[in-house]
């Protein structure tokens, strides 16, 4: 993963054919994924999850509990991968870092006045610096949607670039567009292009605090932005749909979409992530179903 050069905002972004995008997405859900392919897919999904808790009620105990779950998803099934990362508030990074020592699970921290992004730039920079000082491996920043909707694209671009500079080589930067607040797929595409141009390592759909969160059409538009960038520069950018993906089945549909839009190079935790809290359990339950033959109950799987 080499550092990318930062280029300016592209003058225009392509218009999105909404009907076409929705139709294409409907096709992804009609693939038949069974038996060994399904098992492989489920393991892959589990290894790509950013296990997330972003609640006002988060306590250090809850974070430690979740970190244990991330590194040991379900002890009674052998050979399960750990999740890719945990995603927490900056103040919890230290706790998570300590809990995950030696497990290979990364700690991602949200920052820049998450979730609204309505804070002065200085606060956002300080927020990010704090998370980095605590040892965050990944930074999930939010863009200033208000500014973006006002047409101040340069402001949004500069903010992302500043945070990127702060992250340097220490942490990979995920840029949350909060697509639920952008309104149209055209704006999603535009925001994706700006974030990519400003140096995002990942682009991410949502904070999980706004509905709708991640949807397949929105994710497809963002994947296409990544693909176009790859074709014109040869640089890869990662993708993270977050929020609202809670069933293993829909997660597999997302994998199909990634494979058919970007290709197999993206099908690993370095380039694709799921931001989710409930998804992990459903995936584990599906794996248990495939192993034992019986449909499973949530009563027998840890909640956090």
């Amino acid at each position: 993963m080499t550092q990318r050069k930062i280029s300016g905002i592209p003058a225009t972004s392509p218009r999105i054919d909404q009907v076409g995008v929705e139709e294409r997405c409907a096709r992804f859900t009609s693939r038949s994924i069974k038996s060994t392919t399904k098992m492989q897919g489920l393991h892959m999904v589990l290894s790509m999850i950013d296990l997330t808790t972003l609640e006002g009620a988060d306590t250090e105990g809850k974070i430690r509990q979740m970190c244990y779950k991330a590194s040991h998803p379900h002890e009674s099934i052998k050979g399960l991968p750990a999740t890719a990362a945990v995603c927490v508030y900056p103040t919890m990074v230290g706790v998570a870092k300590k809990a995950l020592q030696g497990t290979g699970v990364n700690v991602a921290s949200v920052s820049t006045a998450f979730p609204s992004g309505q804070g002065p730039t200085e606060v956002k920079l300080a927020d990010t610096k704090l998370a980095l000082d605590f040892g965050a491996d990944e930074i999930d920043m939010v863009i200033s949607r208000g500014r973006f909707l006002q047409g101040e694209e340069q402001f949004v671009y500069d903010e992302i670039a500043m945070i990127k500079e702060l992250c340097g080589k220490k942490a990979r930067l995920k840029v949350i567009l909060e697509t639920g607040e952008l309104g149209t797929l055209d704006r999603v595409r535009r925001a994706s292009d700006i974030a990519i141009a400003a140096g995002a390592d990942f682009i991410k759909t949502s904070t999980g605090k706004i509905s709708p969160a991640a949807t397949m059409p929105v994710t497809l538009v963002m994947l296409e932005a990544i693909r176009d960038h790859y074709f014109s520069t040869g640089e890869m950018v990662g993708m993270k749909p977050a929020g609202g993906i809670s069933s293993a089945k829909s997660a597999l549909h997302y994998l199909v979409m990634v494979k058919e839009t970007l290709g197999e190079e993206w099908l690993n935790k370095d380039w694709f992530r799921f931001g989710a809290s409930r998804l992990a359990n459903d995936v584990i339950m599906q794996i248990a179903k495939q192993t034992t033959g019986n449909y499973q109950s949530g009563d027998y799987f840890s909640k956090d």
Partner: protein
């Protein structure tokens, strides 16, 4: 000009919606003379899985609803059913019942709903107890709903068995996945339309049609079904159900009853899908200290 008859599509009932089976399969039950009754969904194990998900998410809300409100809703089902008497009677006759037997069965089904509606806010008091204990504790036992319950409905009756089973289960605060009579499924589907218009929250009652032979093992093995009520008399089916149920110590109740008998209703049918919770609550030892109050 002759009018083309508009035939009803017999669908299944999951989570308050009327989907067709996920499998796309159907079967064609016939009456005694061999005439086609209807093409009916032949449900797969995935339909059962979907129903369990719906029933599980409905359980919290239904079981914590006030008993009085559950009673009102059961009564509402009876009201709605009363309004569709002729449709039920027609279907029963189509499935081979005589006119008088059909009328009797519909009346009985409506009355049974009213009967269990009455028990909703009473059985807990009747079956609860305050237990004498040898310490300064207030100790009491109360019945609480078991959870998600499967119902393998009576094969011989189309309506009486199904309604008796469902009414007793939901009166006690459980959520239900019922598999209708395989040979006489029409009334079950119409009953689900009654439920859909009776203030019953989506997912509390789910009704599937199809092969008992095919689905029985999945009712038995599903880890998220807490109990199964079996209406029938096949020892083979019952032992298969019991052995699979051991995986998650599912409660199995079996009844070989004549559901058309007006006497086949009592609160013990509710109690069979209840768990007894006993609670110890520390209190001041009044007896040894004289007057504490």
């Amino acid at each position: 000009m002759a009018r083309l008859e508009v035939l009803k599509t017999y669908k299944i009932f999951i989570g308050g919606k009327f989907p067709r089976t996920e499998s796309g399969r159907y079967y064609s039950p016939r009456d005694k003379k061999g005439n086609l009754l209807a093409n009916v969904c032949l449900c797969s194990r995935k339909d059962l899985r979907e129903s369990v998900v719906a029933a599980r998410s409905a359980f919290g809300g239904w079981s914590t609803r006030s008993a009085f409100n559950r009673s009102q809703i059961l009564y509402r089902i009876a009201e709605m059913m009363e309004g569709r008497r002729t449709q039920f009677i027609d279907e029963l006759i189509k499935q081979g019942a005589t006119a008088s037997a059909a009328k009797k069965e519909v009346d009985l089904a409506v009355d049974r709903l009213v009967y269990y509606s009455g028990w909703c806010d009473k059985f807990q008091q009747v079956f609860s107890s305050v237990n004498p204990v040898n310490s300064s504790h207030f100790n009491f036992s109360v019945p609480e709903p078991t959870g998600v319950v499967g119902l393998l409905a009576d094969e011989k009756t189309s309506l009486a068995g199904l309604v008796s089973g469902i009414a007793a289960l939901v009166a006690g605060g459980n959520t239900v996945i019922a598999l209708a009579s395989e040979s006489k499924p029409l009334c079950a589907v119409t009953f689900s339309e009654v439920i859909a218009t009776s203030d019953v929250p989506g997912g509390v009652i789910n009704i599937l049609t199809g092969s008992k032979k095919e689905l029985l093992e999945h009712f038995g093995s599903h880890m998220d079904i807490n109990a199964v009520v079996y209406q029938g008399n096949s020892n083979e089916e019952l032992s298969q159900l019991r052995s699979l149920a051991s995986n998650n110590v599912k409660r199995i109740s079996s009844y070989d009853k004549d559901w058309m008998d007006t006497a086949q209703q009592d609160p013990y049918f509710i109690m069979d899908a209840q768990e007894i919770k006993t609670t110890w609550h520390p209190i001041e030892n009044i007896g040894s200290e004289g007057s504490g109050y």
